[in-house]
Amino acid sequence: MARKPRRKAAPKKKKAAPRVKASRKKVSSALRIKFGCGSYDRLEALWTGAVKPKGLEIAVTRIDAPRQLFDLMDQGKFDVAEYGMTGLVINAATGDDRFVAIPVFPSKMFRHGYIYVNRRSGISTPKDLAGRRIGVPTITQTAAIWQRGQLAHDYGADLSGVTWVTGAVDRPGPLGPGVVTPELHVQTRIERAPAGKSLDDLLASGYLDAIIGANRAPSLGHNPNIVRLFPDYANEEREYYRRTGIQPIMHGVVIKRRLYEKNPWIVAELYGAFQEAKTRALEHLRPWGAQPIMLPWMEAELDEIDALFGGDPCSYGIEPNRKTLATLIDYMAEQGFIETKPSVDEMFVAVD
């Protein structure tokens, strides 16, 4: 019996590298570029070499610490890198043109499940967060911007009187050495976490009433007082997605402008390669007979990916993400990160 995938054709190996119609400067030898990213399935084919964009030789550095990754890009250590959406929007709004962005979104995550409260704080609904002391790794963290926007818009929480306390969740000190709290256009009370304490410690001791952001509170599951604001968060997030069509984007991909201007053809090549790498990863997730990854209920997950996301839970391109991007820009303006809103289209270079 020949192998056969479930539900759709699954070309696996030795598929030709993606060919994207684009005007392309003839290059005699491959252009070598340094690419920094996290170890995600949707990018994997780029470092294994299963997908090779034409005319490019990609040297991939994988760093599983987003803040560090973005800092290295800011320091010019990569030619192309995964990059936080907050920085990407601020760059567009302030005319910072060191980079150009392409509409590839390696990290999209629902974040309702990343809001933790101390049960003793008496917080049981989002509105109870008003006026509280809330930990956040950095005020600029994209996850936290999404959460603040959602809490305010979807749940009517008034966060204007909140004191935000910044620091790493799992260890004392700031999230990273490069963390700078920007001047916000909206009055916001921001403090640093007391020395020697992680946000998690501070939540457990009751100094903080809640933590938001992109990091899991280490005491969750260990300290009975630390619970999620939305205990049934996965269903909360499903309902949110069904209602809004928004799948929060955390990271995009940027290219050094100088490299792009000298070699504009690389945009289409890279975009095609990102799409192809993702397609392969999605095919790999489809078990047929055995499970590719150690999720015991993979079948249920795949059914949901098909039913809710039309088979692609990580869409790239501007159009499928327009509402999500516009919502993030709105939230960033409301929260004082930008004074003028860039349009969604002007944030990205054309990919075809």
Binding site: M1, D41, D64, K278, G289, P296, E301
Partner: protein
Amino acid sequence: MSGLPLTYAGVMYDRTAPLATGAVKPRGIDLNYLEFDYPPHIFNKMEHELGFDTSEFGISTHIQKWAEKDYPFVFLPIFPSKVFRRSYMFVNRKSGIKSPKDLEGKRVGVPAWGQTAAIWQRGILANDHGVDMDKIHWVQGGVYEYGGPRGTTVRGLLKEQMVEPTPQGKTLSGMIATGEIDALIGANIPDTFGKSPDVVRLFPDARAVDREHFKTSGVFPIMHAIAIRRDVWERNKWIAESLYEAFDAAKNYALTKMKYPGSIRYMTPWIDDELDEIETLFAGDPWPSGVESNRKTLDKLAEYMVQQHMIVKAPNMDDLFLKVGGH
């Protein structure tokens, strides 16, 4: 570093991939990882041609044959493939099957009656849902392409079991859509599922039912284990421990990667929810190595195999695996 060169044939799972990428290297061994997509191809080549030094291998075949004279394999208690199988049972909507009991008297397709997935499913249907398996009319053949075993009885059983081969040119995927069979079990998802509105799951919420049963039984159905050619092992018995450690380390490596908190490692949007459940329900590791951690599951499979006339009596699982990992 050059070590003993060994070939390993297996599917590229997250839990074994570190052995292919070199992220995990077995001590003293240069492992040549031969990637396959379809497990039966591996099993056939291993069983009939001793085609690899070590490979993934069907657990039920091992339970059936381990005591045979000159059995050419030894096994590691590493279980690369485990799958909850209720989500792999399909019915034709027009068959009138509403609950498992309704399968009695119906025509049920299966790619190979003796495949491990089907053993688990029959055992589950009979023991958990009270289905009388003697009242099933089995149709055996290829799910996606015409083929499969052609006989009218299942070979190698202790009691005669009749099966009807699929008609010339027909596939089980097609037959469940047209209603020529009423249901389909086995390791595969018919390609008509999601396309034909008549092909639906027997358990629409298979996850919830599987989860409830797992909570009480602790059984997470095992499909495959790791076989080593006996002659290869006899020459270098130390490889058993080295391979066991490496497979276990590769699994832990993948599990750590999956739990990476900065973003989702895989594109399953609710992987966090899954990871929470891995903590609460599976004590952090849904894929433990070793006989002890898998004994309930292995014993349950043997019990089902006795019921299904595949073996005379259930073996002591300790006899089926090399002593490794300090056990």
